[in-house]
Symmetry: C3
Subunit: 421 residues, 3 copies
């Protein structure tokens, strides 16, 4: 992965990258400085594979979504040949934004300014009043790398995308297959503006150390054993632990019966395209995020045949996480806006045959995570405030914040690679 | 025109100025970077003659308008001797803004803070509690260069204004004389905030390539021959072309009869004070911007005796354009606010004897250009979005964007002169 | 007072500090540049003693206020041993802001994120899931220097606070003692956002040259002799001057009878902790800011026994001033937000036994200074606008602006010391 950086980093920033204290939260400038934000956009968001949208959102030829990543804007659409394509959202004439809507459907792509017209494969087919010498072929839309994996759409703005993505895609696809997200439908989508650096949003997601006090609605779905090992189990916790063991065994059996993978795959910081997949049994009825672990949609996803199928939890660096349940899936995407602002998009997917008002109710379907996201929003904003205080200094991660540390390690490693290559 | 720049330009900016690709739109930083915005304010807006207001707005002694140009604020007023004068809008004591209103009328200029008092000629006549050694003469208001041409008021913030203005004034004044803007009255005025760099606003004005699709209301006034030459006329266009030829002949005759100049004067990029004047026949009834080319005011301007008198269209670099019709005039002024924000002021002038509700109706008078401005606002905002996208690269101008290119050439030429002198 | 500056100043800023013209207002960048604002926060606000709150606001153990000074946030609280303590408002774990409320009461300080828990003395008493090697003692809250003087609370963010504070405290405490602010109660508090640099707010406070025209409500309390000496007294002013002399004599007698200090102490720019105390007789009934100098609270402050006790006016550099009257006290605190924004907090204190609706009415108590503050807000905003105009150049102070000049001298002197040490 080569690059031509347009940024000249200060010695202070280089030193921060080179001398990061392992085991401690990041230094303040990583969350607050404009220089490092610009570096993040350039070195992380413009060079790595980013989860961007779901195939369910662009089901038919001509369907598109636009994605804004800092100053970058990208059109992702389904071409007439059913392939997913991505282009820079900018006209090759005088630079007008081509598509202004967050999503929609087009035949051709027509610039609103002077009607330069492009096919959905990006080729320019009309440009008025150009001289005879005009070479139309030179002015097609600029393509952006795009890949789909199990119904999830990833893009990479860099010229040479990380080469390990094929391998990662091969690793995660078998876990996603049972859910058939490719043919799911969007039941609901929410964009939440968070007053915090994108890394605080990610770090917040990478641990549940705060869940006990912050997320009473969420934790009812999980066994109250977060951070415990078998050795820690006290007599009081014994019944919970036994309930957990039984549920884990059932989940293993269900996966084995359908030949679905069951093991955790943990590479959050040991490769360019860091990821983690784990399949967690759920407490209570054990099906979904409804009250007492009850389902929230009557139709099961894809080829899944039993409601008690746990939570397939997936993390992708740098900007996404996913919860896949037997009856619905929730996908989360974080995009940077400014050093102290980010946008989190949450999308709820259900089986394409599920009927609103019959099989599911949007309020019940989305209740737990709308609430959880909003609780996290407050925590992230409070942390952004705090780390911008000159009195802040990095503090030590606890034993149950290993995924936060893995995220930070991955991030610092990628910056280091970028500034030294 | 000498200068003492307070800006230290980066090598990148100097390179952008020196290596601009002719025939292509400008590179992104010209529209988005704070450094180039500051350079624009210093090298363009603080050194060139700017259209600022009309004499009609400061008809009587003591009448003033204030004009904010980036961080600069200027008072333009009519002195007791009927001359138009201009001053920096800042008290010589502790720097308070002197006049806060956009317009009004004063006897003397009294600072709201400690009542330092200046005559309308700028001289300080009162400053309390100063020691006997205080030299009042040293603390008059700082003058700003000001010139009037045919009722239009131009200012120059620089110490040594461009010397070619006398010549330009001599060239354009005969075209303006028939309209007698000096004794017109303001029928309406609108300030429109545009989410775009001031050059995108100007470039948008300098072509009508976008008019067909964007301005259905405006184009009914003009012959649908924009960008065509006699050679292009197809059989289908033949009747239009003949209508145009007849109207052009009538306009020539009308000008000749009144000894008004008729020829186009085209110097948009070949001199410091770039300008263009052309007198266009109008379609339909051929009088004004009313439905089917009908008049919108019953009283004709100045010494004009026939309603069918076309559109005297004038461009002035860097920040203005004008449409003068037999029954009203519209003057446009663009001022920079920040790299991605500008303010466009549109002022409608009618004969001073025209009575609202009798001779004209404000809604009908202003309808076409209020609508057109708002359509342009959307296009400019979309282009600002696009050029800020790292995927943007300059594109080729079409054959009918020659005035856009002339504006860009003038602009780059002036920057180049500034940074190398 | 040593320091480790994180700022690299430009040559231009150093030159501005070194070459300031004495007797003239400050150059524009002192009011408008981000670089100098950052220097102000670092060299002035993070190194000097700042008036921050009153003891009345944290009367009981566990009571706290939070104070935001640019990016710094500080918790000031009363510990269980009744001492006032101050800490950085940031958790030592991952940097969350600890307390989000501007004031309140706590038992322990519990971080909202992962419940790290601190005693009111700052010591960490709980941090979950840390490894056995975790040294709790290393992660107490970071203390901030704090001092109380006559019921006023001062903090210093620097590691080595100015050493002259003991001496200054000794000087001013006897003047404050009669008012017993320590046991007063807060009757009202207002935060006013001003669109101006913090120094413009302070300079505005340091002179009453503008009072005649700007503050008609305020000046009725004072003798209309501002800026006059005995030599200036004209026959027309003779009766006023005699009234003033009588009131001054009465005030002297009242102070002498109670053994309270009476002389003015004037050291605004001759020491690190610049200050001024003066005790001014009031006009009319001579008691307070009520109509015709009437009292606004029926209970007198502290040990004061007569209502006609003048105005004890105190200035402290860099950010506060105080008016203490027989029946109430008003304390003013200015904090910087950005180059062109500041927050002024005004707090009205009355005797702790005074009962709202019986002894005083909040509207009457606060009327004059709410009005005065708002008038000053307009003047400060107008000056911020003006000094940002490139047409601004520093102007000469008048004879009655000596305290403004002293403030500017103090400020420039402190910057100079900081950048050269």
């Amino acid at each position: 992965m080569s690059h031509m950086s347009t940024l000249k980093l200060t010695a202070e920033t280089e030193s921060l990258i080179n001398n990061r204290a392992v085991g401690y939260s990041l230094e303040a400038p990583f969350y607050a400085s404009q220089e490092i934000f610009d570096l993040d956009v350039e070195a992380i968001f413009a060079k790595h594979w980013l989860f961007s949208t779901t195939e369910a959102e662009i089901a038919e030829p001509g369907d598109f979504v636009t994605v804004d990543i800092g100053p970058h804007s990208v059109i992702i659409l389904r071409d007439d040949d059913e392939e997913v394509r991505a282009f820079r959202n900018v006209c090759r004439h005088r630079g007008s934004r081509l598509l202004d809507s967050p999503c929609g459907s087009v035949g051709n792509l027509v610039c609103p300014y002077h009607q330069w017209t492009y096919r959905t494969d990006g080729s320019l087919i009309h440009a008025e009043s150009q001289p005879p010498s005009f070479e139309r072929d030179r002015f097609g839309l600029k393509p952006v790398h795009v890949r789909t994996v199990g119904g999830l759409v990833f893009i990479c703005l860099g010229e040479e995308p990380p080469e390990d993505f094929d391998e990662v895609a091969g690793n995660i696809e078998p876990y996603l297959t049972p859910y058939d997200l490719r043919h799911a439908k969007v039941a609901h989508q929410v964009d939440l503006v968070e007053e915090g650096n994108w890394k605080l949003v990610m770090e917040n997601n990478r641990e549940c150390h705060h869940c006990d006090s912050a997320h009473p609605e969420l934790i009812t779905a999980y066994f109250p054993l977060f951070g415990y090992t078998a050795d820690d189990v006290t007599p009081r916790l014994r019944p919970v632990f036994e309930r957990y063991q039984a549920a884990a065994e059932d989940l293993g059996a269900a996966c084995a019966a359908s030949q679905f993978p069951r093991d955790t795959w943990y590479e959050p910081d040991t490769r360019i395209t860091g990821f983690r997949v784990s399949h967690l049994p759920l407490d209570g009825e054990g099906s979904s995020f409804g009250p007492d672990g009850k389902p929230v949609c009557a139709k099961l996803m894809g080829s899944i045949t039993q409601a008690r199928f746990g939570d397939l939890s997936m993390h992708m660096q740098p900007n996404s996480w996913f919860h896949l349940l037997s009856d619905h899936a929730i996908v989360f995407r974080v995009l940077p806006v400014s050093p102290d602002k980010s946008i989190v998009r949450t999308t709820w997917l259900v089986h394409s045959d599920a009927v609103e008002g019959v099989d599911y109710d949007v309020d019940s379907l989305t209740s737990v995570w709308r609430t959880t996201n909003d609780q996290d929003r407050v925590l992230v904003a409070g942390t952004q405030c705090g780390v911008a205080n000159p009195g802040y200094e990095p503090g030590p991660y606890s034993l149950v914040e290993d995924d936060v540390e893995a995220f930070a390690n991955w991030y610092i490693g990628r910056l280091h690679k970028y500034v030294t290559s």
